[in-house]
Structure formats: structure tokens, C-alpha cells
């Protein structure tokens, strides 16, 4: 088997799980990844498991039903396609009962009793078993010709704080239900999740709490024997001024800056003039920027110490729109190509 590469290779992990602290943009990264991996006629499936309809909002479509639907074509031509599915635990359970036990009417009776409710909301872990189980089913599914229906399945997963427990739930359930169909199902799912077919990525920002959670998350994944993929550093901002330059500017050049501002039409440079009154606020903003840059530098070091490969995605100026998503997907391909 060739060495595993991330994009573009047949050996790449077929289930890509994207987690991250809340607010780091994991749905966006998962969607960009689904677009990036759908190159050259490949087909990817983007799944969400938390019932938030984040994918639909991102792509500007109506709420996704429990049904695999094509939502986008990949950037740069080549016929790549992205499908999407919002996995619903209750529907997945009824499917499962139908598929394995032909329990059409008994399934309905169970539902009436409240057993389905119990299984999907109260019973420990069953909900997560169903969600991960459905995703693994899509990974393994083949068409009549014996080819995989989806080249890659990308999961917009629960946040970093819960990801290990979420993925590992099958181990726990297999321990609870020591034999029987639930036990077998849980073991089959675990086999996929712990294989090289799976990669778990974590999305972070260059801020202290998300980076700390990323470090903790990686440690937990490793301990649980789950395959860690990459760290995606999201919303990276450009740097305009380094701290030294800034300090120098603040020290002796206030009047010069005021004059420069004035020269390009921003008002008077003398005391009380408009240009002069801009200098202090501009320097204050720059000082804030510099301390941010310094914090980001520290966080980059922490990430480097984790020894997990990273990709960086830029902060998009215009907010998250579809065009921005394609921009991110193209950026991911570029970085992946540079890696190879």
C-alpha cells in the first residue's frame, strides 16, 4: 500500500471526521473539505449528526431531509460532486430495524410506546451508535459494480470536548450489550472508526482556549486509539505590522505619522487637526493588533508542539458565503498539492 496521503490519493482516509471547539467553524471546514476532496469525478458525502441544519444554512438551501442529496459540484470542473445528508437518529433507528429485522409494523408499535424516543434520546449512547453507524454504512456502501458509492464521507461531528466519547461510544455500548445484535453492530462500526480508513481532524483558531482544547482532544483521541488526522487552523488573519516597527512608530514618530496622514488628504496634522487626532486611535488599534499577533505566535508554537500536520485557512473578508467556501476548498487543494 502506498504511503497515506491526504488529498488526491486513493489511499486517503475514506471517512474524514471534522471536529472542533464551538465557534471555530467546523461546519465550514467540513464543507470545504468535501468540496476539495470531490475533485476529478469523485463523489463525496457530507453528513451532519447534530440536527442543526448547518450544512443547509451554509449552502443556502432549504433544510436537508433524511435523504442523500446532491448539493454542490466541485470547484475547477472535472465533474466532482458533493452530496449531503442530515442524519436523524430516530429515522436511522427505524431504518435499521427495517433493514435487519423487517420490523415495519413492530417498529411503529415501538414508536407508539415511546421505545424509539427512549432509544434515541435517553438510553445511554444508543443515539451516538446510530449516528456513527449510519455514517459507517455510507462509507462501506457499494454499487452493483462493486465500487464504493462515495469516495469519501466527511462528517461534521460534535465538538472537540465530546468527540472521543462520541466516536468511542460503540466500544462502550459493545461492553454494555455484551452480545446480541447491538453488540455486533457496535463492534462493526468500531472496526471502521479505528482503521486507517478514518481520520479525525480538529479545527481551531489561533486563540488560547481552542488551541488548549485541540491539544486535550488529540491526547484523548490517541489514548482511545482513534486515528488523528490534521489540525485545521481556521480564520487566519494577515499581519500588517510587526511589533518592533510598531513600537518604534509609537515612540518618536507621532508627528511624522500625522503629517503623512495629512499629506494623503486625511486632515490637518497640527495639534487638534483631524489627521493628528487619528494618530492615537490608530496606534491603539495597532497595539491591540500587535498583542494579538504575539498571542497567535505563542499559540502557533503550542500547535507545532503537538506534532500533528496542520493546514491554515484564511479569514474571509466578506463573511461566509458560497463563494468563500469554494475559495477555502481551492486553498485546501493548493496546500495538499504542495504537501505531495
Amino acid at each position: 500500500m502506498p504511503e497515506r496521503e491526504w488529498l488526491g490519493s486513493d489511499a486517503v482516509s475514506r471517512l474524514q471526521v471534522v471536529s472542533g471547539k464551538g465557534g471555530t467553524g467546523k461546519t465550514t471546514v467540513a464543507a470545504a473539505l468535501a468540496l476539495a476532496l470531490a475533485r476529478e469525478g469523485r463523489r463525496t458525502l457530507l453528513v451532519e449528526v447534530e440536527g442543526r441544519q448547518g450544512i443547509a444554512q451554509l449552502f443556502g438551501t432549504e433544510a436537508l431531509p433524511y435523504e442523500e442529496r446532491k448539493i454542490a459540484v466541485a470547484p475547477g470542473g472535472g465533474g466532482g460532486e458533493v452530496y449531503a445528508l442530515a442524519i436523524d437518529a430516530e429515522r436511522a433507528l427505524l431504518d435499521y430495524l427495517q433493514m435487519f429485522y423487517k420490523l415495519g409494523s413492530a417498529g411503529r408499535a415501538l414508536k407508539k410506546l415511546g421505545a424509539i424516543d427512549f432509544a434515541t434520546t435517553i438510553a445511554p449512547g444508543l443515539r451516538d451508535v446510530l449516528l456513527t453507524g449510519k455514517a459507517c454504512e455510507a462509507v462501506r456502501r457499494k454499487d452493483k459494480a462493486g465500487r464504493f458509492v462515495y469516495d469519501h464521507v466527511i462528517m461534521d461531528a460534535p465538538p472537540t470536548g465530546r468527540i472521543t466519547r462520541f466516536l468511542n461510544v460503540n466500544d462502550e455500548v459493545a461492553g454494555l450489550a455484551r452480545f446480541g445484535p447491538i453488540h455486533n453492530q457496535a463492534q462493526a462500526v468500531m472496526k471502521v472508526l479505528k482503521s486507517p480508513d478514518t481520520a479525525v481532524h480538529l479545527v481551531t483558531l489561533l486563540e488560547e482556549m481552542p488551541v488548549q482544547e485541540t491539544a486535550d482532544g488529540i491526547a484523548e483521541l490517541v489514548e482511545a486509539g482513534l486515528p488523528v488526522g490534521r489540525v485545521f487552523v481556521n480564520m487566519v488573519r494577515p499581519h500588517h505590522l510587526d511589533e518592533g516597527t510598531l513600537r518604534e512608530a509609537a515612540e518618536g514618530h507621532r508627528a511624522d505619522i500625522a503629517r503623512a496622514l495629512s499629506r494623503v488628504g486625511l486632515g490637518g496634522a497640527r495639534r487638534g487637526g483631524l489627521a493628528e487626532r487619528l494618530v492615537e486611535p490608530l496606534l491603539a488599534q495597532a497595539a491591540e493588533h500587535a498583542s494579538r499577533v504575539e498571542l497567535e505566535r505563542e499559540q502557533r508554537q503550542v500547535l507545532a508542539g503537538l506534532d500533528v500536520p496542520t493546514y491554515e485557512l484564511p479569514l474571509l473578508g466578506s463573511g461566509m458565503e458560497l463563494a468563500g467556501l469554494y475559495e477555502l476548498a481551492t486553498e485546501l487543494r493548493k496546500q495538499a498539492d504542495a504537501d505531495e
Binding site: 471547539k21 464551538g22 465557534g23 471555530t24 447534530e50 440536527g51 448547518g54 444554512q57 413492530a106 415501538l110 415511546g114 424516543d117 434520546t121 435517553i122 438510553a123 445511554p124 460534535p158 462502550e172 461492553g175 454494555l176 450489550a177 455484551r178 446480541g180 445484535p181 447491538i182 453488540h183 488560547e208 488548549q212 500588517h240 505590522l241 516597527t245 510598531l246 518604534e248 512608530a249 511624522d256 505619522i257 503629517r259 503623512a260 496622514l261 495629512s262 499629506r263 494623503v264 488628504g265 486625511l266 486632515g267 490637518g268 496634522a269 487637526g273 483631524l274 489627521a275 487619528l278 490608530l282 491603539a284 488599534q285 498583542s291 494579538r292 498571542l295 473578508g317 466578506s318 463573511g319
Partner: protein, 438 residues
């Protein structure tokens, strides 16, 4: 704070009076809720510090605080009871804080509601152990349970509670209800039936439908799991009434006038979409909403200089920085002549005598550096103004949906908060309610 003030539009929402809320003795519970990653825990802690320093006896219940924040409040050990935070208070005020230990909370309920032997049986049941160790939902039940406990103790005159980082921000409202409907449901009676009548001898008293059902369940779950669940349910049987009563009581407590919900968000589309959804849900459940806390809002003391204007000026400087040029003279005239969308109406700009720089030609290199720095400052400013505009658009979308919701905007800090000084700074920004230039 703001000297620009030109962006205040018709849809500027009412300002949330944070201090008035904290000072009002009738405010007994503040619930901070919202999407993940918006600063709920920090907001709850900052409100607690501020209320204590304004003289109230406060307890903050946090769910999953960042390690350094927990350390700064001295609650990094998990003993599941509130501890006094040193160095906060004054004027009779005190701050206590605790971090929720959901397993411990669940165990305590079992221990206090079942006799010794039954309690031991429950605690040893594998099904119980998984349930209590924190599968989806447990944290929500236990947070609400703990809130009920703290309130009934009556040791504090204000409880500030953080909500769990749920799949959806609404889980903590739904979880106790779900538990209630499960406990009232038929399913639990089916589960309990065989264990109750006790083994084989009793089976014949079950009607055919029920035994078919348990047969199906056994086939699905495996007999051993079903047995664990049945044992668990039977052992918990006597406690269920208490569970339901308390879940109902907590729900009513949340609806009571002494409770104030604060929806916390960041000025990003996802977080505000969730906030809007939450506002609607709270209204539907008749839960009292005090307002929206919008964290990490950017402002600028130079807001009168627009992004476009700053970028144009930066380009101008970068192009003309090396050769001394005519722009020295053209600059101020331009400023005087144009309609000045970015710079406020400025009589003194016309004919600035000191604007063109005479020693520019003498020391071209030094001036070039200054030009570069200045251009950098202007680009940074342009970026900041773009961020502000984007945040305002996002906020306005929320405000037009929910003009009735009062808003406190909290100016962004450059770094994370993990000490009391940082929490005080956040508290001040919360009370001010508006960042510069917005």
C-alpha cells in the same frame, strides 16, 4: 466613548441595563445560554464577580470552564459544592463558585432517595454507570437538578448559571421535559413489568402484546442489556416520582419572575441565528428573557475614517512614499474639497499650513519608513472597519427580527480571560454595553 456616533440607525436596539439587573434584589437567578464558543462561561463568571462587588451574595454554577479560568476562581477541584472565591466582594457582597460534577450529582440523588441497599444496587448497575458518566442529555438534567438544589438552599441571593455546551443550546430546557415524558410513558411500564412480577412465574400474567414486545426488545438489545435496563428501571422505580416532581419544579422556577435569561452570542451569523431561535423558544415557553449579550464586538475610536478612505490613503502613501511628490500639496486640498464621507465635516482641513512636509526631501529614507508605517496603520484600520461593518450587519439582521430584545455589546479583548482582573474588565464592558465607535 464614541465620538463618531454616525452609525446609530433606526434599528439600534435598546441597551440592556446590566447593572440594574444585577442590583435588583428581585433578580434571583440569571441563566446564561447560547451556542458553543460564544463566551457563556466567561460571561457568567464576569456577572458573578460584578454582582458580588456590587454587594450581592452570589453563587456561580459553571458547567465546563476552561482550566485557567477555573483555577483563577479556585474551583478547579471537583467537589461539587460551592466555594467562596477569595478577593472578590465588598459591601457585604460575596462570590461563591462551583463546577458541576454530573456523575457526583446523579449519585447524590440516588443516595438521598433510595435506601442503602437499593442505592448500592443502582450505583453498581452498568446501565446506570454509563448513563451517569455523561451521555448526551445527562449533563443537562444534572445542571437543572443542581440549580434546583442551590435555589432551595436559599444561601445566596443571586444564582448565576452557565448552560452545558449542548448539541443545541435548547437541550437544557428540553432534557428535563423529555425525562418527564419518558417516565410517564408506557414504555417504562413495559420495561418494568417482568422485573416487577419477578421472573418466570409472573410471566403468564402479562398480556400477549407485552411479552411479544419484551421478546422483540430482548432480540434487539441482547438479553443481558435488557436485563440490566430492567434491573435499573426497577431499582429507580421509587425515585421516579421525585425525579418528575423536581423536573417540573425546576421548569416552573425558570419561568418565575425572579429568573432572568441572558442569551449570549458573538456577532457571527451562526451564533446569532441560534440566539434568535433561542429567543423564540424562550417566548414560547414563557421564560423571562432579560436580553442579549453580544460578546467580542469590535469598535474603533477612529470610526469616522471609513475603510475605503483608509485604504485609498494607504495606497497613496505606498505609491508616493519614495519619491517626494506633488501629493504633498494635493493631499490637503483633496481633503478640503471632497464631500468627506469618511471624515466628518472638517473646516480646519482647508489650507493646512503644516501639512506638506518640507524636510521630506532632505531625509527621504526616514520619511519612507514613516509612510510605510502609516500605510500599515491605515490598512489595519480599514480591516477593523470592515469587521465592524460586518458585525453590524449581522447584528442588525437579529435586531430587525427581534427589535424587542435589549442588547449589551461587549467590546472584544485582544486575548483570553483567565483571571479576576480580566473578569472585572469584562464586567465593566458588559455594564457599559457599547464598544467605541458603534
Amino acid at each position: 466613548m464614541s465620538e463618531g456616533g454616525n452609525t446609530v440607525g433606526l434599528d439600534t436596539p435598546a441597551r440592556l441595563a446590566v447593572d440594574a439587573l444585577l442590583d435588583d434584589p428581585k433578580t434571583r437567578i440569571i441563566v446564561c445560554c447560547g451556542a458553543g464558543g460564544v463566551g457563556k462561561t466567561t460571561t457568567a463568571a464576569a456577572l458573578g464577580v460584578r454582582a458580588a462587588e456590587r454587594g450581592r451574595k452570589v453563587v456561580v454554577l459553571t458547567i465546563d470552564p476552561a482550566r485557567r479560568l477555573a483555577q483563577s476562581m479556585g474551583i478547579d477541584s471537583l467537589d461539587n459544592t460551592p466555594r467562596k472565591v477569595a478577593g472578590v466582594g465588598g459591601g457585604g457582597g460575596e462570590l461563591h463558585a462551583m463546577m458541576l460534577d454530573m456523575k457526583r450529582t446523579f449519585d447524590e440523588i440516588v443516595e438521598s432517595h433510595a435506601d442503602g441497599e437499593r442505592a448500592r444496587a443502582i450505583l453498581a448497575n452498568p446501565f446506570y454507570q454509563s448513563l451517569s458518566a455523561g451521555f448526551a442529555g445527562t449533563q443537562e438534567y444534572m445542571a437543572m437538578e443542581k440549580l434546583g438544589q442551590l435555589r432551595s438552599k436559599d444561601d445566596w441571593d443571586l444564582i448565576v448559571v452557565d448552560t452545558p455546551p449542548s448539541r443545541s443550546a435548547l437541550d437544557f430546557l428540553d432534557a428535563p421535559k423529555r425525562l418527564g415524558s419518558f417516565l410517564d410513558g408506557k414504555f417504562i411500564r413495559v420495561l418494568m413489568a417482568p422485573a416487577k412480577v419477578g421472573g418466570r412465574a409472573g410471566m403468564k400474567f402479562l398480556n400477549v402484546g407485552m411479552s411479544m414486545m419484551t421478546g422483540t426488545l430482548s432480540k434487539l438489545m441482547g438479553a443481558s442489556l435488557l436485563k440490566d435496563v430492567q434491573t435499573f428501571v426497577a431499582a429507580m422505580d421509587t425515585m421516579f416520582g421525585g425525579f418528575r416532581t423536581r423536573a417540573d419544579a425546576t421548569f416552573r422556577l425558570l419561568q418565575a419572575p425572579g429568573t432572568a435569561f441572558l442569551v449570549v452570542a458573538a456577532p457571527e451569523p451562526d451564533a446569532l441565528r441560534e440566539a434568535a431561535y433561542f429567543v423564540e423558544r424562550l417566548a414560547a415557553e414563557r421564560m423571562p428573557l432579560a436580553g442579549l449579550v453580544l460578546n467580542r464586538v469590535h469598535g474603533s475610536d477612529a470610526a469616522r475614517l471609513s475603510a475605503e478612505r483608509a485604504l485609498a490613503a494607504a495606497e497613496n502613501l505606498e505609491e508616493g512614499g519614495i519619491v517626494d511628490q506633488e501629493s504633498g500639496k494635493a493631499g490637503p486640498r483633496e481633503a478640503a474639497d471632497d464631500g468627506s464621507p469618511g471624515v466628518d465635516g472638517a473646516p480646519q482641513t482647508s489650507g493646512e499650513p503644516d501639512a506638506p512636509d518640507p524636510h521630506h526631501t532632505d531625509d527621504a529614507r526616514a520619511v519612507t519608513e514613516v509612510d510605510e508605517i502609516t500605510a500599515g496603520l491605515l490598512r489595519l484600520h480599514a480591516e477593523r472597519m470592515q469587521v465592524i461593518a460586518r458585525e453590524q450587519r449581522t447584528r442588525d439582521r437579529f435586531t430587525s427580527l427581534h427589535p424587542e430584545v435589549a442588547v449589551a455589546q461587549v467590546a472584544a479583548l485582544p486575548g483570553d480571560v483567565h483571571d479576576l482582573a480580566g473578569l472585572r474588565a469584562i464586567g465593566e464592558r458588559l455594564a457599559a454595553g457599547v464598544p467605541a465607535g458603534t
